[in-house]
Symmetry: C2
Subunit: 268 residues, 2 copies
């Protein structure tokens, strides 16, 4: 089986955290024959010291000492570092030595590398970042979360199609409900972009398009795939992360005001 | 003193909830001489039954039986109901019988009524909805939260100016920090709209413009006024409300997994 290529140097606390994830995956999924780690061999070897021998034997390393830092402008990074870990990981896919690529690193560099080397699928003009959000009823997929901040209506339509496939194939949802993020749930609401996208997506008869959904419905389990442009999606993702981070504080305030034994009322 | 006009029929559970708010305000702010309630007199009188006599004497009622329902298209509602509670409340401001208007009702109808009858201030082309969010360090103001979903860069600049005044005069923040919501905090990031708005706002020397802020910084207390277009602002507002509503569920799950005595770690 063709392995997945992993950008071992991408993301916070790489390669240590990436290697931990790799070993965890090898432990949990016996169907993985091999993973291709791309990055600085000495650092990877050090991070692999606690890796079990039978896991280690399923890991192949491709060495490079070029790394894209998180604060580099993506275009410049791609130009000046043709052998960066993300670039070589994508190259492995292009050469057929890997079947897909995973990176927790620089989003812009990852998007630029993949689009430049692999192009998009037929009918898809722009890449999208799909993010799985937890919700009380399970989860939902949101895309685009930041790859394409100036969308045309047809890009949103293409996200709806890609999101549907992801939800069906990866999240195992039989007939995913597709929603378009908007300021109101009635047809005809929204800005120029969302009104035009609504028209387009409505025409795709194969899609279970449930229409517009407001931000207020996100965590109510009414929708499996939330379609939005990359600007809005990125702001939703980060605002929700920020609010979740502040919950501890709000809860603390609440607990100071109300003894713990009264928490039941709050939880119901 | 010129009273404030209150749309007594606007919002969920009106007029009961509106009247409760009115009585609460009269109780807490002795400086309020009079409030003008506009709406259905019999319904208002019924809701006022438990109102203290000294509060009741500070309330004036202007009767109308036309009410804009929450699901009416705003333009049609304005045309077909010239004597709706919101229209008459705004008219009272126009005639100088009231100094301002408050409505918890149909946003579109409220915005349309005020713009048509009162116009905007000189230099301001579009109205904006300003919303105060709680945050661990106090609060921040976000605008526009949904009045203007297709913004030009200059509209965002005007929101920055209005937001600054609101934060200074109403929230008592001496030198409010103004931020522009964006997908990255470096200058030059973002979509066409945010890049152009960044340029414009930067030129206002009187403003304490701290540049772009990401969604992830919203609840970190780094910014007092968050400027965004009405589409993005509305989605932020409602997504955060939705997540906060789901918080009880996530907390319950957490408590089932971790005994209450371990909660300290979570709270720190």
């Amino acid at each position: 089986m063709v392995p997945l290529a992993i950008d071992a140097m991408g993301g916070d606390n790489a390669p240590q955290v990436v290697i931990e994830g790799v070993c965890d995956a090898l432990e949990r999924f016996s169907g993985i024959d091999k993973l291709l780690l791309v990055g600085d061999r000495p650092q990877i070897e050090t991070a692999l010291q606690n890796c079990r021998a039978d896991h280690r034997s399923r890991i192949e390393i491709e060495h490079t000492d070029q790394i894209v830092a998180m604060d580099e402008p993506p275009a410049a990074a791609i130009r000046s570092k043709p052998k960066s870990s993300i670039a070589l990981a994508v190259e492995a896919v292009k050469q057929g030595r890997a079947g897909g690529v995973i990176s927790a690193g620089h989003t812009g560099a990852a998007v630029a590398s993949t689009v430049l080397k692999l192009r998009t699928l037929p009918g898809i003009e722009r890449p999208g970042i799909a993010t799985v959000f937890p919700s009380p009823s399970g989860c939902f997929l949101l895309l685009d979360a930041g790859a394409n901040v100036d969308c045309k209506p047809r890009h949103l339509t293409q996200y709806a199609v890609m999101g549907e496939i992801y939800a069906r194939e990866i999240l195992n949802i039989k007939k995913p409900r597709i929603g378009l993020i908007n300021v109101g749930d009635e047809a005809g609401k929204g800005n120029d972009l969302s009104k035009a996208a609504y028209e387009e997506i409505s025409k795709l008869a194969d899609l279970n398009f449930i229409g517009n959904i407001e931000g207020s419905a996100l965590f109510r389990g009414t929708c499996d795939v939330v379609v939005c442009d990359g600007f809005v999606g990125n702001v939703i993702l980060k605002s929700c992360e920020s609010l979740a981070g502040a919950f501890g504080h709000f809860l603390k305030k609440l607990l100071v005001k109300n003894p713990v034994r009264q928490m039941g009322a709050f939880l119901c």
